[in-house]
Symmetry: C2
């Protein structure tokens, strides 16, 4: 709210000063036009005043620029930082545009060796943290999916973005992106914008996702937005389905799509998984795999791509009991939460204790809360900065109509706050949709410990009497009678008992018929029920692995001066579980003895399952340290004797001396988390030797 007001005030101040400049300039012109009628002194004074006003207006413009620059998520510093990270990532092959020698394809990226190792480590930790810890049922379904499945899920109809075409070249653009870019450009760069116009553009940005195709089209027209590359006119917007379509089998008749999410593979298997789990709820199934989204015009590097790895959990739970036995394990966690109320009142995210958020009802239920807590632990243990991580609740208009509650784990990076994990209570929507379409009931059963008595409406039409009365129409009358609600049936029962007959509307016949007492028997009967049959609710944490990894890259990156302070060196401070390589081995200088010792150490590291590289290039040890810091290797072993060697920790640059025989086990303990650097540096002598860090 404060930021908003101050920006408005700055715009107002700038407008006032510009008006003053305009008025004074007019005055100067008038004086000059008066010719001899105005003294030179008067003119000079007026010009001086104009200059002073211009200086003031310039200052006001700079103040406004600074305010919108830092508030709008852009900013030169962010851009510069991003460039430094991205340059390092691409140069070191963390990731690269795919098919580069053929000039690439927008939205497709390869992970090179260190990126691929980071990804494998993140996924292994995900399996450990979620699947193993909670005994989840992991499944692995194909990417190619037949149309019927995605019709049931709603993707064939609704998984679309609105698109406009350059009317002359046919180039396609996302309609909302063009409108967003236009509004942002105006807000960030047009200093003459009136506060009213600024408010309007901000409103458009806020409601961008909710605009209908007609509203979006009208806005594009109103603002005169044209194709950005050619300035040609644009078509009206129309929906484009974002699924990659293909054809299964050779006939061309069987449409398939590359799955847009992995969740559907779990839903269609619910029945088998429920039986596998001994017909007990709650249980969770999980899947890691590729998903696809044929973006209209991808941008933002790894954050918006056409193919990506998802890791999704579907936790099935009784809708009448969403408590979680392990919620106590996470209730005391405190982190940034951004509930609806704070967003709507223009405030920022606040530190909240998870237990309180659930007990106050901010978070809908314990199970949803439990997963929010587990996601927080997962992300921070990976190395995401907790101060740049918040859990934002969906606003009512963002949420699907069936969802009970929905929170996104958003991570702040140079592109702004990015949704990386969605945690949604989707109620019974998905299972119901597939039950309906497939005809296979996807339900759970609660067996009662003793049968429960329930009252049930029983309607028994007398087919003989109905047949005599209605002949060929009998079937329609019977169906209409059986379909009566409890209220309708009880009303009819009362009418038949008092009057002996009653009028009854049969929609399928389009008319009323007369029903007599002997034609139907209606009663409420008590029945014993042995179980409750219901569709489970599903709580879905869904992880965009590529986005998490990109944010992790930004959060882990820093620079520090070289020893000579001549250049800035890049470092990734990955925790050992994430680091692409756990350890490098350097013979200090090139000689047979050191090389042999290095080989012995490498062999033992392999046996211990510690990934490592040997760097025997003949450059200085400082250069080699810098090279290894740049891909985030946490530990470096320098071989400077044949009996004991040093281990250097990446961020502190401290070194300890350890016997060769112990090296592999010390490094393994460090990388697997059984001991910390503090533990081992207390145990082993520290080393301050001639082998300088960066020269």
């Amino acid at each position: 709210m404060a930021a908003q007001t101050s920006e408005d005030a700055l715009r107002r101040a700038l407008a006032d000063r510009q008006a003053a400049v305009g008025a004074q300039a007019e005055a100067v012109r008038a004086l000059k036009a008066a010719g001899a009628g105005a003294s030179k002194a008067d003119v000079d004074a007026a010009v001086e005043a104009l200059k002073a006003l211009k200086v003031e207006a310039g200052a006001a413009a700079r103040r406004l620029q600074a305010a919108v620059g830092s508030g709008g998520g852009g900013g030169a510093a962010r851009e510069e930082m991003r460039q430094a990270v991205v340059n390092t990532l691409e140069r070191k092959l963390f990731y690269i545009p795919s098919f580069k020698i053929y000039r690439g394809v927008a939205g497709l990226y390869d992970y090179g060796p260190p990126g691929c190792a980071v990804k494998a480590n993140v996924l292994a930790f995900w399996r450990q943290h979620f699947i193993l810890e909670e005994n989840m049922l992991e499944v692995d379904c194909p990417c190619v999916t037949p149309e019927i499945v995605l019709k049931a899920s709603g993707h064939v109809e609704k998984f679309t973005d609105l698109m406009v075409k350059d009317e002359k070249t046919g180039t396609c653009y996302r309609a909302d992106h063009l409108l967003k870019d236009y509004c942002k450009e105006k807000l960030d760069k047009d200093l003459t914008l009136s506060p009213e116009k600024a408010t309007e553009f901000k409103y458009v940005l806020a409601v961008l996702d909710d605009l209908s195709v007609e509203e979006l089209g009208a806005k594009l027209k109103e603002y005169g937005i044209v194709a950005p590359d050619t300035k040609n006119p644009l078509s009206d917007p129309y929906p484009f389905n974002l699924m990659f379509q293909t054809s299964i089998g050779p006939t061309g008749l069987n449409i398939g799509y590359m799955r847009p999410e992995t969740a559907q593979g779990i839903f269609v298997n619910f029945k088998d998984l429920y039986y596998y789990n001994g017909q007990k709820l709650p249980f969770a199934a999980a899947q890691i795999g590729q998903a696809f989204r044929n973006e209209i015009s991808p941008r933002q590097g790894l954050l918006r791509v056409r193919e990506f790895t998802l890791a999704e959990i579907e936790h099935f739970v009784d809708p009448e009991d969403k408590s979680h036995p392990k919620f106590g394990d996470v209730a005391d966690l405190e982190f940034l939460m951004f509930p609806r109320e704070l967003q709507l009142s223009g405030e920022s995210a606040k530190l909240v204790k998870l237990g309180e958020a659930v007990s106050k009802g901010t978070v809908n239920n314990e199970t949803l809360g439990y997963f929010i807590g587990r996601v927080y632990l997962f992300l921070t243990r990976l190395g995401i900065d907790k101060d740049r991580l918040r859990f934002r609740q969906h606003l009512p208009n963002e949420m699907a109509h069936y969802a009970a509650d929905c929170w996104d784990a958003e991570i702040e990076c140079s592109y702004g706050w990015i949704e990386c994990v969605g945690i949604a209570d989707r109620s019974a929507y998905d299972l119901r949709a597939h039950s309906e379409k497939s005809g296979v009931p996807l339900v759970a059963h609660e067996k009662f410990s003793k049968p429960r008595e329930v009252e049930k409406l029983v309607i028994v039409p007398s087919k003989k009497d109905l047949g005599l009365a209605f002949k060929g129409n009998q079937k329609m009358v019977v169906e209409a009678l059986e379909a009566m609600s409890e209220k309708e049936a009880m009303d009819m029962k009362a009418a038949l008992e008092s009057k002996g007959e009653t009028n009854f509307q049969v929609c399928t016949l389009g008319k009323d018929v007369v029903i007599t007492k002997k034609m139907v028997s209606i009663s409420m009967e008590k029945k014993l029920e042995h179980q409750r049959v219901f569709t489970p609710s599903v709580i879905e944490p869904s992880f965009g692995i590529g986005r998490i990894i990109y944010c992790l890259f930004e959060h882990s990156f820093y620079t520090r001066p070289s020893k000579s302070e001549e250049e800035q060196l890049n470092v990734f401070r990955f925790p050992p579980i994430v680091a692409p390589i756990k350890c490098t081995v350097f013979p200090l200088v090139k000689n047979q003895e050191f090389d042999d010792a290095a080989k012995v150490i490498a062999k033992e590291l392999t046996t211990s399952g510690v990934s490592h590289i040997i760097d025997t290039t003949a450059i200085s040890i400082g250069r080699r340290y810098a090279r290894t810091d740049e891909i985030g290797v946490p530990f470096a072993v320098t071989v400077d004797s044949a009996t004991s060697v040093t281990i250097r920790e990446r961020d502190s640059k401290e070194q300890i001396r350890v016997d060769i025989s112990e090296i592999a086990s010390v490094v393994r303990q460090l990388t697997e988390g059984q001991s910390t650097w503090a533990d081992v540096s207390a145990k082993y002598p520290s080393h301050v030797g001639p082998q300088g860090d960066q020269e």
Copy 2:
């Protein structure tokens, strides 16, 4: 050869006996037709003789049936065994047909929880055994691939199968499958087949993969093969491309395919990877990922599917030096090899020492041999039976024209010998193809330690003199002169020096021209070269992970009688590294004390990273053991006291007693391979308690 001859002999014997039966039947008919002319005794004797001949013919038919049944890869026992495995696999959700509630899609399968865990374990071991052990560069590229990449690789043109259509219903079939089925059916079931016809069908089966589209069509016509489901006539065969096609981006103009293999993603990145590796050869890159093949009519369950996981290695090597420094590590391995010569002479695979196979030249080079050895170790450590594993060399007609040598690791299962890993020396083919298409040279450099002197042909046309003589044709003449081979140039030089001029054919002009001495200068000059530039060869081990896993399921499966011998119990003898769950924990009877102890153990197993389940269902311990054997869990911990518990080994059913405090570490050591069952059963007291195995 022996098998072949004996089958021929049996067919001949059967044909002879059937001819004898026919002749005798004719004699009987003649005797009976003669009426009173033949005595009853004669008729009876002839009938008896006919019966005896029929018995003989029947025996001959059974002998033939047995011979073809066991030799043909079919056989009732195999079918039965497969059914038992597949039933267990599907019931326990190792795998299930995808989208089952929508009646599935042929060739698409899901891995359920235990199958998914087995797959993850196989891939983790693959990473350890290949990538970590050899410091390979792992990459991760998208499945969606633009057309240009797959044009360069040849897939757009050649990745096809021949298809025929039912002319009335449009149903599609693989042409070679119909021909194969016809020939096999005849060979297996038609006992009246003449040895000549049998030989013909066998020949067709042998050359099936080499038949041209015309030859295949002619054979289908010759044998009168019709659509198997409808008996309708079939179309002529025509090629169908097996890639799933899609469209990248919204314009519909940018064709893409789902990759048919992961290798191309590595080839197009060769340049970056070579620099990443410090411009040194050899090095290997590897990729694990989904690949796609739009089969015409998939069959054989998990063995022929439309989407599958590949794990591929591309090892780049100097074509002039294919030695391997670690070949010695595998040279002493001895296993079944099936080189070309043995196949062509009709013999079987033989035990061969790998070192000898390479030194004798059976295997083309050490690097190829090294990978064959590593693949052998990988598969047998997973649990593949070494007696049902062979390395079969491609016959010359099977191999791509550019390949130097190619071996398949074939595993025998109920479907016969199945290609599971291909290990090919693909020479420089792939890198050259992408260099040409992209214009980016994918080459390596060998820097000479000192420059080498080479003689080079230098041709310098005098453009001025040629221009005067040939005007507009000058360019063509210059190009033709510059394109001369060393021999042509030297001949011209001699002619010009002796005669001053010479005739010279310019193809692009379609005529001879006269070249004079001053028009061109030709010489051999000595030059210093500092490096050699060459296209590396690539050796490619390519693993079909799903096929390996299916064969592993069959090789690991066995049944044993329950204690009461009333039923057969299913067991998978997975080694611990493969087992989907390492350990189950059972409280012997339901009480709080045992349940609490079980929870403590479970928590410690989780901390140690050992996957496990607790089974607290109230059924007998014997039943619970059987349930856990059926998904191949190697160790079961039974809680029968609050201080010490038992561990049972799956296959021996032996039990030892271990303190609760030690359980997690003992199980971890067993499952990670630091100790064997023999080690721990020597160390801890054995237990022969009341808790019976299968009741």
